[in-house]
């Protein structure tokens, strides 16, 4: 209450250039008389707890007067508040009546100030609430699939380390064994046999030669003799058919003889 009373006009609140019309605009922006009062209280530029209700009442009444000059209709809320504040002001300024009923003027002013402060606090609280970490804005919940929503791939596979190792060992051995067989089955292909025969026959002087004697020279390992003999025999027949070789066998199971056909003197 010790503040110097503020000028009744609101030059500092409403820019002079805006003129009186600005009040109309302003009042439309307020959410009722308490909102307006809080805005006015802020122009006192002091802590709400040290608010001068008397000064505030003056500010409010002047403001309403200014608005009414340009605008006849004003929401009843504002006018009721104006009436009440005018009443409170008169109670505060006049000496108390000798027999007072109910609260004193100071008590009323006090209660009123508390009300304003409470609204201010609620607003701050609302701001704090709105600036919290909010679900759906700052944080998001798990989206749980609907009951009838099928979750893809809901299959779990199982296998043990033993399964894994035995599968590996089994297949590696399987293929390893077949690989080894392949190596021992190293055969003389027909083409191979023929190439060797051609080289041998070409180098020979033209006499009859035993087929198996050629082969034994080349093939020390007994298990390969069969394949070598078979392929060489086939190659021999091929070469005989082509007229490159002569072949002779003196009896069944007797050794096979062969010689290059180029040696013509026996025929002549």
């Amino acid at each position: 209450m010790s503040e110097a009373p503020l000028p009744p006009e609101f030059a500092e609140d409403a820019p002079a250039s805006a003129g009186e019309g600005a009040f109309v605009v302003d009042i439309d922006g307020f959410e009722g008389p308490l909102d307006l009062l809080l805005a006015l209280a802020r122009t006192q530029k002091i802590d709400l707890t040290r608010l001068s209700i008397l000064a505030l009442a003056d500010q409010y009444l002047s403001f309403i007067e200014a608005v009414r000059k340009v605008r006849l209709e004003l929401a009843a809320d504002y006018l009721v508040m104006a009436a009440w504040l005018a009443y409170l002001k008169s109670r505060l300024l006049l000496p108390p009546p000798p027999k007072e009923d109910g609260p004193s003027a100071e008590e009323m002013a006090d209660a009123f100030a508390r009300r304003l402060r409470h609204l201010e606090r609620i607003r701050k609280a609302a701001e704090l609430m709105m600036s919290r970490t909010r679900m759906g804005i700052d944080v998001f919940p798990r989206r749980v699939p609907e009951k009838n929503e099928t979750v893809p791939g809901r299959v779990v596979y199982d296998a043990s380390l033993y399964d894994l190792l035995s599968a590996y060992a089994t297949q590696r051995q399987r293929t390893a064994l077949s690989y080894v067989t392949l190596k021992t089955r190293a055969v003389w292909s027909l083409a191979e046999a023929r190439a060797r025969l051609e080289r041998l026959v070409g180098a020979s002087p033209g006499d009859w030669m035993r087929l198996d004697s050629f082969l034994i020279d080349y093939m020390a390992e007994p298990e390969q003799r069969a394949t070598a003999l078979a392929s060489s025999f086939s190659a021999t027949l091929e070469m005989v058919k082509e007229g490159v070789l002569d072949i002779r066998q003196d009896a069944a199971f007797a050794p096979l003889w062969l010689r290059p056909r180029g040696t013509q003197e026996t025929l002549l």
């Binding site: 959410e31 009722g32 008389p33 308490l34 909102d35 009062l37 009843a76 809320d77 009721v80 508040m81 009436a83 009440w84 504040l85 009443y87 109910g102 609260p103 009323m108 209660a111 508390r114 009300r115 402060r117 409470h118 609204l119 606090r121 609620i122 607003r123 701050k124 609280a125 609302a126 704090l128 609430m129 709105m130 919290r132 970490t133 909010r134 679900m135 759906g136 804005i137 700052d138 944080v139 998001f140 919940p141 798990r142 989206r143 749980v144």
Partner: protein, 240 residues
Amino acid sequence: MNRVAPRIDLFDARPLDEREAALVRDLRVVEALLFGSSLPIDAATIAKHLPKDTDILALMDTLTADYARRGVNVAKVAGGWMLRTAPDLAEMAGEAAPEVRKLSRAATEVLAIVAYHQPVTRAEIEDIRGVSTSKGTLDVLMETGWVRLRGRRRAPGRPVTYGTTSAFLIHFGLDAVHDLPGIEEMKGAGLIDPRVPSGFAIPLPSDDERLREDEEPLEPELLDLILTPEPEPEEGGEEQ
């Protein structure tokens, strides 16, 4: 500032350590429970799935700490725990989420009043704001799912009382209404003091499902004082 040793992976229990194995087993159960719900799960529900005498709070503290650095966190809200994305990842995590409706200033204020003064009647809301509240504002708040009708005040006209829901707590990340920001300050300021002529005899807001027994009629003398500057028709409105 450097740590001496990095933290050990909580879930890497030594197979022979029974205590560790039990912890991992319990944590896994809780993780699965929280993960399976988009709403908070309370301690009683969690306890049902764990061995008797499990210290749920300690377990949840451990899990919360473990998730604190992750992209998904454990939050204690609405009396339970839930998993939610980390706040710093909002932009990315919210891409697919439906947009939350922005509330008007009036609706925000009314919501705060409901939160801090519940159970509260419409007349009380208007009293605090000093202005009549359009029915639309309360309708919007009901629509958000954050505000609900609680019951009726044992008072003339038996006005409807409003309160907040668990969806409200979840949305604002509150464990309970007494965790509302600034509530201590409000208590300290004596603004919820029964002597204050706002008529709120109840010191703390409560969203307890059970109706309050002590919802008393307002004192007529106080009412007179308060309502002098108030728009008259509000009790009438409530009575209809």
